[in-house]
């Protein structure tokens, strides 16, 4: 089904040789089974440098699975993943991170015993010298409006502050691709707007590409360059949010009639 979709065809022009292109990420025939249950089936999926891509689709469609395959938290049953022209399919997670892939988990999982400063040190010490910790920390916290909380531990931060600190930590690694799994689930309308604003600024300033999974279609609308719809483990369709929203098939399997 997915293979016959014309939009997918266009993304299939893969550089098998591993040559550089403007595609930062390309998956080929990505297939994942959980003991016989197919979670993703031949997913060919590409993201351009600096692009913000949203991944939507019904519950159980395999969105989180795709993300976890890209980060290396899961191993694909078949297929491969190219990143920046290089086959990373068999690299362990931490090496993918070294190459610029960063992930923000859905539920904030900060290091509870450490202050904001010390939390930031965990990613920072991977890329900068001890002498620069303090300046970089302050820069980042300032950017995310958390400077006043520098010596606070996560428990005393609000939900929104925790979310921002998490994104700051992911950004501290200076990634070229950020993966966000349902970043605004459970956030209020106001906080959702804040996160959307933040993502737009980061992308404008740093040229980071994003893959964002989200069910909040209004949120998707405000941020996405392109939208990929996943269904039953395969790419159902791809396009701009307008195209996708108006696609009757997407409405049927995912969006429903209202909105």
């Amino acid at each position: 089904m997915a293979a016959s979709d014309p939009t997918v065809k266009t993304t299939r022009a893969v550089d098998e040789t591993g040559e550089r292109s403007s595609r930062i990420l390309q998956t080929r025939d990505l297939h994942k089974e959980f003991g016989g249950l197919t979670a993703t089936d031949t997913v060919d999926f590409a993201v351009e440098e600096g692009e913000l891509r949203c991944l939507i689709g019904p519950n159980g469609a395999g969105k989180s699975t795709v993300l976890n395959l890209i980060t290396g938290q899961l191993e694909p049953t078949a297929g491969s993943i190219y990143y920046d022209g290089i086959d990373i399919t068999s690299l362990p997670s931490h090496e993918r991170v070294d190459r610029g892939i960063s992930m923000k988990f859905q539920v904030p999982t900060l290091y509870e015993d450490l202050t904001a400063r010390q939390n930031l040190r965990i990613p920072l010490q991977r890329i900068v010298d001890a002498a620069e910790f303090e300046t970089r920390t302050r820069e980042l916290l300032a950017q995310f409006d958390l400077l006043a909380e520098i010596d606070e531990t996560p428990a005393t931060l609000s939900h929104g502050q925790q979310q921002r600190l998490e994104i700051a930590m992911a950004m501290a690694l200076e990634p070229t691709l950020m993966l966000l799994d349902e970043p605004v689930a459970g956030l209020s309308v106001e906080e959702t707007a804040e996160v959307a604003e933040l993502l737009r600024t980061i992308r404008a300033q740093e040229g980071v590409a994003f893959i964002v999974i989200e069910h909040d279609i209004d949120f998707v609308e405000t941020i996405a360059d392109r939208v990929t719809v996943l269904d039953q483990g395969s790419i159902f369709t791809e396009g701009t949010i307008e195209e996708v929203k108006t696609d009757p098939a997407v409405r049927r399997i995912y969006l429903g009639e209202e909105t």
Partner: protein
């Protein structure tokens, strides 16, 4: 963070030893630490070198406790197998020391003992962590490894179980292991029983300070991050599997050091060192002292051994066992962290003058 602006030199000296990963960073703590070190150093003077020679084993075992505290408290690996590295190192030292006579043998034995323990820990760690073994299963594998060693060593009684001059001895144990010494051929210094105390004390303090530097540095952050959330730490580009392996290996090396100090102290080792009771002791010390407090573990190891020696009647085990249950129920995080909270509360409620605590109050 200090309230005294003119102690900057002191602060600079102190700074590598301090950080969020150790509990005690205050002036009061260091004062207490100093008092503890001085009283331990004065022990032979006050109670005689004979007593010190006997009590040296407390320090040696405290070091074994530290080796566990390091892997458990700072990287979340609860190993029941520290005694395995301890014992393997002890036996290795014995084999080398009994075969290569003179100071050369002893010196070689020290190196060999620690090296074999380290390699053993590295191999076991590789086997487990790279095989995806986690949590309580690590605990149980390490326990089983110790028990396998016990079962194996127990049956090495026959003459066929001799490595050169050194008879493994099975249940009898290995005897006549040489004293600690350093040197080549006939030139060298032998550590007498009384001096052994100071060697053990120096090793303990050295390891303690070294670990403080380590856990408050880059690697320490990585360890603690791994302890708190492995998946997440991996997503910051850390190879958590490798971090666990390194930590576990280092813990094995420390246990190995402790094993060498043990056999050179008693000139004897037997398979009982691998038994479940022996294997539990480091866990008990770390639990009671505070698993993330190195100093707490040291203090608990020393105090508990002392208590056990004092209580020798039939109620001894009942008392020790009840104490264990009591501490776990009442102070699950261990005594040292609890004491620290207590001291901090007192300080914040009264004047911020630090009252030097007694030795038992050493918190890390």
């Amino acid at each position: 963070m200090s309230s005294e602006p003119n102690s900057s030199l002191l602060e600079r000296v102190r700074s590598p030893f301090e950080g969020p990963n150790t509990l005690g960073n205050s002036n009061g703590f260091w004062l207490t630490f100093g008092v503890g070190v001085v009283s331990l150093a004065l022990y032979p003077v006050l109670f005689g070198t004979y007593a010190a020679g006997e009590r040296a084993v407390f320090l040696v075992y405290a070091l074994l406790g530290v080796s566990l505290c390091f892997v458990w408290g700072f990287c979340g690996i609860l190993s029941f197998g520290q005694v395995a590295f301890f014992g393997v190192s002890g036996y290795t030292f014995g084999i080398v020391g009994l075969n290569v006579s003179s100071y050369t043998g002893v010196t070689l034995g020290i190196v060999a003992g620690i090296a074999v323990a380290t390699l053993f820990a590295a191999a076991l760690g590789y086997f487990m962590f790279y095989g995806g073994v986690r949590d309580v299963y690590v605990t149980i594998i390490t326990l089983v490894v110790a028990l396998v060693l016990k079962t194996f060593m127990d049956q090495t009684a026959g003459g066929e179980w001799a490595v050169g001059e050194a008879e493994l001895g099975g249940f009898n144990g290995m005897r006549n292991i040489p004293n600690l010494a350093i040197g080549v051929g006939d030139i060298g210094i032998e550590v007498s029983r009384a001096m052994h105390y100071y060697v053990a004390l120096a090793a303990l303090i050295g390891v303690y300070l070294g670990l403080r530097v380590l856990v408050n540095g880059r690697f320490g952050y990585a360890m603690v991050a791994t302890l708190e959330d492995e998946t997440r730490t991996e997503m910051f580009g850390y190879n958590t599997t490798f971090i666990k392996l390194v930590t576990f290996t280092l813990g094995g090396a420390l246990a190995g050091l402790s094993g060498v100090l043990y056999v050179t102290w008693g000139n004897y080792i037997n398979p009982q060192q691998f038994a479940i009771t022996a294997a539990s002791m480091p866990v008990i010390w770390a639990s009671i002292g505070g698993r993330d407090s190195i100093a707490g573990t040291i203090a608990a190891a020393i105090v508990l051994q002392w208590i056990e020696l004092q209580l020798s009647g039939e109620w001894a085990l009942v008392i020790v066992g009840s104490l264990l249950v009591f501490v776990i129920l009442v102070m699950p995080e261990g005594i040292a962290p609890r004491l620290r909270t207590f001291v901090l509360d007192r300080q914040s409620s009264s004047e911020p003058t630090t009252t030097p605590a007694t030795t038992e109050e050493v918190t890390d």
